[in-house]
């Protein structure tokens, strides 16, 4: 297999092309603009559509339109831009349309900063837009994993007819790593629901999220949540690293998990039994996997590039069976392995 040294954002874009993404609509924002730039250059060659929209709001509604015809569609942005997309994402979820949304997170709130952050965990997993719905959220922690998850995200979006988010951050987007791409996807599932012109061969299809009768709206939401239940049962993913004998489990995702893994290795070198639990799906949160990871631990240390958002899921998922401590840097500050090691030691570092 060919290996390429590639920047995270460009790898995300190439992965989307290989996954058969036919339409990309976006709006410039740092630190994800390379995705647009790459697709502007390569999308037409691949027979697809690249269009720079007038706003994030327009971009996500273009995605809605394209996705409703059954083609694979994607948009990408960074935190403030993702906020703008929230209306459209809610409509896409409510209309049971598949699409992929990439958030290369930066610091917030407001205009915040342009350095890496994980302060959009809540937005991605709990509240991107109004109404009763979820996104399937993948949090890769390497350039290769970003490629793998984009590929998977399109398949999952189609299979479950829902928006899927890749929650990356400025660090992953801007770093370069060797990466291998899958072959270009050519077989796609049928989409008999698509509003692509009935050709006189069937009754008209309707893409819609409006149900004025409460019972009908309830029915549509409940049906959607049954699909969510299936995803929870079948598709959670996590990495467990040196957890079996660990006294201290560090929980971290995305770029922070790389830092945490280094800290765990440093701790092990000093004879401290530390391990790492890294959720790869943030929604659904890998409940069984985390309980397996912490079963022998005395304490959990949650590390994030935020003031502590995922920690709530860590506590919920473990039912507070172990004490959960927190260490975070925010605003674009990246925690160092030494800082995390210091926290591990503070927690007893019990040898």
């Amino acid at each position: 297999m060919e290996r390429n040294l590639m920047k995270g954002n460009e790898a995300l874009a190439e992965a989307a092309l290989r996954a058969g993404c036919k339409c990309f609509f976006g709006y410039p924002i740092t630190p994800q603009t390379e995705i647009s730039a790459y697709l502007a250059k390569n999308m037409a060659k691949a027979g697809g559509v690249f269009l720079q929209a007038e706003s994030e709001v327009a971009a996500i509604n273009m995605v809605l339109g394209a996705a409703s015809t059954g083609v694979r569609a994607m948009t990408s942005s960074s935190s403030p831009g993702v906020s703008l997309k929230s209306e459209g994402v809610s409509y896409i979820a409510g209309s049971d349309l598949p699409c992929v949304i990439i958030n290369v997170q930066r610091g917030g709130p407001g205009l915040g900063g342009i350095q890496p952050s994980q302060a959009d965990y809540w937005q991605a997993t709990k509240a991107l837009g109004h109404g009763d719905y979820q996104l399937l959220v993948y949090a890769p922690s390497s350039v290769q994993e970003m490629v793998d998850k984009v590929t998977l995200a399109f398949d999952m979006a189609d299979a479950y007819r829902m928006p899927v988010m890749i929650l990356a951050d400025g660090l992953l987007g801007q770093m370069m790593e060797p990466v291998t791409f899958p072959e270009k996807k050519t077989d796609f599932i049928e989409k008999p629901w698509a509003t692509d012109g009935h050709g006189g061969k069937r009754k008209h299809n309707i893409t819609n999220s409006l149900y004025l009768k409460p019972e009908e709206l309830e029915k549509s939401v409940v049906e959607r949540f049954k699909r969510y239940d299936e995803i929870k049962a079948k598709h959670t993913e996590a990495e467990l690293y040196l957890t079996e004998d660990a006294d201290i489990i560090v929980t971290a995702y995305g770029a922070t998990a790389r830092v945490a893994k280094s800290a765990v290795n440093l701790a092990r070198a000093e004879g401290i039994k530390a391990g790492l639990f890294r959720p790869i799906t943030l929604w659904p949160f890998p409940v069984n996997e985390i309980n397996e990871a912490v079963k022998n631990a005395k304490v959990i240390l949650d590390v994030e590039m935020s003031m502590g958002q995922m920690i709530e899921d860590v506590k919920l998922a473990t039912n507070c069976s172990k004490p959960v401590e927190f260490y975070g840097r925010t605003g674009g500050v990246i925690p160092t392995p030494a800082e995390v090691l210091e926290q591990i030691k503070k927690l007893g570092g019990a040898k």
């Binding site: 036919k22 339409c23 609509f25 559509v49 269009l51 929209a53 007038e54 706003s55 709001v57 327009a58 971009a59 509604n61 273009m62 995605v63 809605l64 339109g65 394209a66 996705a67 409703s68 015809t69 083609v71 569609a73 209306e87 459209g88 409509y91 209309s95 509003t195 692509d196 012109g197 009935h198 050709g199 006189g200 061969k201 008209h204 299809n205 309707i206 893409t207 819609n208 999220s209 409006l210």
Partner: protein
């Protein structure tokens, strides 16, 4: 017996939710007649955003998409770019097209997005019960301008066809109305031209249709039709503001 009038095939045979005397029904029929005449129902996708016409997805026989408020031109862009060989139209009210969706409207127009926009201007937000719209006339009483639209406070109405006619991407910008038989015939011709433009790849075609809202205007349907003539047309003159096909002929 000879059939002299029948429901267009592109309209589904069910009752609509529109108020008595509202001209949405006429406009739906005209759009459906054009779709029938061109034989394109199977190749057409309609986009109806939030507003009185949001449930038009039940009425048109072609594939239909319900869009977010103001976003129909963006949604239609997504559809058309994904499927350039299909016909795509939006059906939007004034609040939708000229307030919350102004950016989407202007940019779809200036990109020359090859779509048809049916713009129903009745100078009021109908679905939410009669609030001031971007097209509400000076002095007009609405729920949110109870003493009449005061231009010192609420500013002036927007004339969309005039604005859009300055953009190079626009193939057709025409204002019509449906308050009389001759006007209805003219409106249908404009809609037909807009769809023909799309067939010929000419770009963005908008047909603005001055429409009535007897319920929220507090008028009988007959008085509402008269208001179009007496108050709306003087502020929103009927006519062709831009027509690429005519420009070609004149070259």
């Amino acid at each position: 017996m000879a059939v002299v009038f029948e429901r267009p095939k592109a309209l589904v045979d069910i009752p609509t939710h529109y108020c008595p005397g509202c001209t949405h029904g006429i406009i739906h029929r005209l759009v459906a007649e054009v779709i029938d005449e061109m034989g394109i129902e199977g190749d057409t996708i309609g986009v109806c955003p939030v507003g009185c016409s949001v449930m038009a997805y039940d009425y048109f026989g072609c594939d239909m998409i319900e869009a977010a408020h103001g976003r129909a031109p963006a949604t239609a862009t997504g559809v058309k770019r994904a499927m350039p060989d299909k016909f795509v139209f939006t059906y939007q009210g004034d609040g939708d097209l000229a307030a919350i969706g102004t950016a989407e409207t202007v940019h779809a127009a200036t990109r020359g997005e090859n779509i048809v926009v049916i713009f129903v201007n009745n100078t009021i937000y109908g679905m939410t019960g009669g609030q001031m719209a971007p097209t509400t006339l000076p002095g007009q009483v609405t729920q949110t301008t109870p003493f009449g639209r005061d231009t010192n406070v609420q500013g002036y109405p927007v004339r969309m066809c005039e604005m859009l006619s300055t953009l190079d991407g626009v193939a057709l910008a025409q204002r019509v109305t449906v308050n009389s038989v001759p006007h209805i015939r003219e409106a249908k011709k404009a809609i037909r031209k807009a769809f023909e433009n799309q067939k010929n790849g000419l770009g963005f075609s908008i047909v603005e249709i001055l429409s009535t809202c007897p319920t929220n205007w507090g008028m009988t349907p007959v008085d509402a039709l008269k208001r179009v003539e007496d108050e709306m047309i003087p502020y929103y003159p009927l006519g062709v503001y831009k027509d690429k096909t005519a420009e070609e002929v004149n070259k």
